[in-house]
Amino acid sequence: MENNNLIDTYPQYETVHPEDVKVWFRAAHVDDFPKNGGGCILYKGLQVAVFNFTRRNEWFATQNLCPHKKQMILSRGMIGTEGDEPKVACPYHKKTFSLQSGENLNDSLCQLATYPVKVENDTVYVGFKF
């Protein structure tokens, strides 16, 4: 049976640089995100993984879609570092990506879109262009 085309459309993800932010989306309370882990937020049909890197006292956001097998999964990935580079590992096949640049750290497979994150009054905001 052919079932290759059950999913044929994916949202388009594009990196947003801090200077390009038009909308600071109020995502959730800091406690909604696990310490040293990620949570997925939904914004206008986009799934964005937000990571609370408590050990480094840093927040990151990337597309939730792992580009390897096109799965909405990265928010459930384990985070850590390689050298000083913060990274997330996809739960499926342990492909790792830089949380800072979105770069794929294993091979030349395409990279992740990243988004700016800010935390104000225990609320997490993610930056979008529109």
Binding site: L6, A28, N36
Partner: protein, 829 residues
């Protein structure tokens, strides 16, 4: 500057060049090589590979460019026709004349062709050069059957080549044994039997009188009047030294051929040396390559340094693989009754014959024969060559230790023991390359001292010496977890336990560096789970994804749910509940290979609800997601089965419930069979229990999957209580000492001392930790609780099972199709 001319560009001629150039530059010694074949030197030992891959380049000892790079003048396709000793010149068939200071005869040998009527016909071949092979391959295209004259080493190799050409192949041997110079009658019998199984037809004790046929061979007439039909003949009856040049210029030759040389490989002309198969040393022609290399070394040594090295004869031990059958002989293999007592072992079914000859006083190993299984060759040859002491029961050497003390083979080897005979490398050379030249792996040792680069038979021993030397330097290769922890899993286990560290962050702060990663986090999670058995969702972000969500993630981000069904026993009521849950949540259902029911396609948000319904019906987590105990498979046992000896179902349930939830370096599976028919396939499990007349047999460290391995018997005919005690110890010892993601089989394979040591630890309690291991296990058992239930009862934990933190929605990108009336996930993009 000296000028050296070498006649002959075979393996030995090449090796001479190679050895010479490592000690003398072109400014010191000018080198000219003449080869009559068009190709530069190639590996004749592996000639039969030419039949399968057909590439002469693969066989070359070195490319033509090597000679240029090393400033060696190589002249191929040119035959040297005479030597003028007074003028110290040689001339060739092209009338070229070359002068020399030293002349090396490395002309080798040609095949012996017996004077049988009709050998000069087309369709009769010898087996020596690539050109011979090309001719054989060509002729075989129009042939269906072939005969090989000669059942020696080379003849059998030729026979293999002919079988590969898909010819109906016969071997005709004059002697009444195969490989008469290496094997005794029993060894020959066994080899013959094994070769016949492969389709070779072997005729022993046959004297061939004539080759008959009209222009080409059609049949062979034997002395006894018998005839054998075959379309072609390959002759491999032995070798004749190529000493014609030497004869003509008046060098001394033996009565049966060969240029007479002294211990310095000098002929009776001090400016002419002979090496390899053309040289006759002490009445002996060596038809192997290793002694030829040694002779080359002796000559290089004389041309470049003092004191001189002598050629002291050579051990003719050989190990080879003939058509997939291992054959080896070493030391004094044949000349036996006179000098010692043979011990033999023969197993026709497995095609194994082993013989060792022990000196009369029982102290020394003189030699031996191995057919069908030559893995002990290295050890045995070293023992006989170095006169090492024999173990108390010499038969252990070929039967394997049966409870006796193992030998420290490498340790008792003397420093000057020759380990690699092709390249003449001693144990001391290998030790030096590790200790002084910094080699830490096999590849660098090979590069450094060339050990194991010839035939490769010594590689296992080279590796043993490497490992032992590293050990002696305190350089044990440690498998540290990752860049964040400079500890092995076992060391981390001890640290966590002794320091009572219960959180990953605390361990990282105290003993690690950086911020952790996807390798060390699950490893530490597993260690902490094994020791403290705390709720796994407490530190959910360090768990591997399956553990984190207590379910197996599948394609498309949905999960599968497997409730525990201990021993595969289930009531109709429970079956109905599973069906109802599956219906309600739209799950694909399948019976697993481990006697359970798998429910696929559950959405993350639904998991707590699904578990809730299952828990209510009396199910609990089957830990199908964890590196932990999975199933204990069972057959139906004595309750229903007419063959069953004991109640295997009850025992399987008991064991599965005992170890449920137990976290380990990798998944664990068990099986209990009610009789030796083994319907539970317990011997392919990490632990397997099989009923016997007297009790139970306990097997451990089996493995199905990608690298199947049978479990091995740890204890036989034991009662249930003992069986459980041993299991407690075994499992906890594995959990404490295995590297992450090593199944029990892999762990055992790497365990120093293997099963014997494991037996000592578990059964004999040689480390005195039996009680401790049992107590640790009891601690885990006592603290068990169902992880699903914990989530079902805890709203705070349930909040973790959401796809979005800011929405109750399911993942909208999830998609399913259907197949045979059930759902299936979207394919990978």
């Amino acid at each position: 500057m000296k000028k050296v001319v070498i006649i002959g560009n075979g393996m030995v001629g090449y090796k001479f060049c190679e050895k010479l150039r490592t000690v003398a530059t072109a400014e010191q010694i000018q080198v000219v090589v003449y080869g009559e074949e068009v190709l530069p030197a190639y590996d004749r030992v592996h000639l039969c590979e030419y039949f399968t891959n057909g590439s002469a380049d693969d066989l070359l000892m070195a490319p033509t460019s090597w000679y240029a790079e090393n400033q060696i003048e190589l002249i191929t396709g040119e035959l040297v026709t005479s030597i003028n000793r007074e003028e110290k010149t040689i001339s060739t068939h092209k009338n070229n004349v070359e002068n020399y200071d030293y002349l090396i005869l490395a002309t080798g040998s040609r095949p012996l062709v017996p004077p049988i009527e009709g050998v000069d016909r087309n369709g009769v071949f010898v087996y020596r050069t690539i050109e011979d092979l090309d001719n054989i391959i060509d002729y075989a295209k129009n042939a269906t059957s072939a005969a090989v004259l000669g059942g020696g080493l080379l003849g059998l190799e030729a026979a293999k080549a002919l079988i590969d050409l898909e010819l109906d192949t016969h071997v005709i041997e004059f002697s009444d044994r195969l490989m008469p110079r290496q094997l005794d009658e029993a060894g020959s019998d066994l080899l013959k039997y094994s070769l016949e199984q492969l389709g070779l037809k072997i005729h022993l004790g046959i004297n061939t009188r004539s080759i008959q046929g009209n222009g080409k061979p059609e049949s062979f007439l034997f002395q006894d009047g018998e005839q054998l039909k075959a379309d072609m003949l390959v002759i491999s009856c032995g070798i004749v030294p190529r000493d014609e040049l030497a004869r003509e210029c008046g060098l001394e030759v033996g009565t049966r051929g060969g240029v007479v040389v002294n211990d310095l490989m000098q002929t009776n002309d001090a400016h002419i040396f002979a090496i390899g198969e053309v040289a006759l040393h002490n009445g002996m022609i060596y038809g192997l390559v290793a002694p030829g290399y040694e002779m080359a070394d002796v000559v290089v040594n004389q041309l470049t340094s003092t004191p001189e090295k002598l050629f002291a004869g050579f051990d003719m031990s050989t190990k080879l693989k003939l058509i997939g059958i291992e054959v080896a002989s070493f030391g004094n293999a044949l000349d036996l009754e006179k000098i010692g007592t043979p011990i033999t072992y023969k197993n026709l079914k497995q095609g194994i014959y082993k013989r060792i000859n022990i000196s009369k006083d029982g102290s020394q190993l003189l030699g031996g024969i191995l057919v069908g299984d030559s893995k002990d060759y290295n050890m045995l040859m070293q023992m006989s060559q170095n006169g090492m002491a024999l173990p108390p029961n010499a038969e252990d050497l070929i039967l394997g230790a049966r409870g006796g003390e193992g030998m420290d083979m490498v340790g008792s080897l003397p420093d000057d023991a020759q380990v690699c005979s092709c390249e003449n490398v001693t144990k001391a050379d290998i030790v030096t390359s590790v200790k002084e030249k910094g080699c830490e792996d096999l590849a660098s040792v090979k590069g450094c001292c060339k050990a194991g680069t010839g035939c490769g038979a010594c590689t296992p021993m080279v590796n043993d010496i490497l490992q032992q030397t590293l050990l002696s330097l305190g350089k044990r290769v440690r498998n540290v977890i990752c860049e964040h922890f400079d500890y092995t899993r076992q060391e981390l286990f001890d640290l966590v336990k002794i320091k009572n560290i219960k959180s990953y962050d605390e361990l990282l702060d105290q003993f690690g560096a950086g911020d952790g990663c996807e390798i060390c986090k699950p490893a530490v999670a597993s260690i902490m789970a094994s020791i403290f058995n705390e709720l796994i969702v407490k530190q959910d972000t360090i768990q591997d994804t399956n553990d984190r969500y207590l379910a197996n993630i599948q394609k498309g981000g949905s999960y599968s749910v497997v409730p525990r069904i201990p021993g595969g026993e289930i009531t109709p009521e429970k079956l109905i509940v599973i069906g109802q849950v599956a219906q309600k949540y739209g799950l694909y259902t399948k019976i697993t290979g481990g006697q359970r029911i798998d429910l696929f396609g559950a959405r993350l948000n639904d998991l707590p609800k699904i578990w809730g319904e299952l828990v209510k019906a009396g199910f609990e987590s089957g830990h199908a997601y964890g590196k932990s105990l999975r199933t204990v498979k069972s057959c139906v046992g004595s309750t229903w089965c007419r063959y069953g000896l004991h109640d295997s179902v009850s025992f399987a349930i008991e064991v599965e419930e005992r170890y449920r939830g137990l976290r380990s370096p990798h998944k664990l599976k068990g099986g209990v069979s009610g009789c030796r028919r083994e319907c539970a396939e317990a011997q392919s499990k990490d632990f397997g229990i099989i009923a016997t007349e007297k009790g139970w047999n306990l097997y451990v460290c089996g493995n199905g999957g990608a690298n199947p391995q049978h479990a091995q018997l740890l204890a036989g005919d034991i009662d249930k209580k003992t069986c459980v005690k041993y299991l407690d110890r075994f499992l906890m010892f594995y959990i404490r000492t295995a590297e992450p993601l090593n199944r029990t089989a892999t762990w055992l394979n790497k365990l120093d001392g293997g099963l014997e040591y494991l037996y000592d630890v578990v059964v004999n309690d040689c480390l005195g930790i039996g009680d401790e291991l049992e107590k640790e296990m009891q601690g885990v058992i006592d603290t068990y609780s169902c992880e699903w239930k914990e989530v079902v009862d805890n709203e705070h934990l349930q909040a973790k099972f959401r796809h979005f933190v800011n929405s109750e929605e399911h993942d909208p990108q999830q998609a399913f199709g259907d197949m045979r009336g059930q759902k299936l996930p979207a394919n990978w993009a």
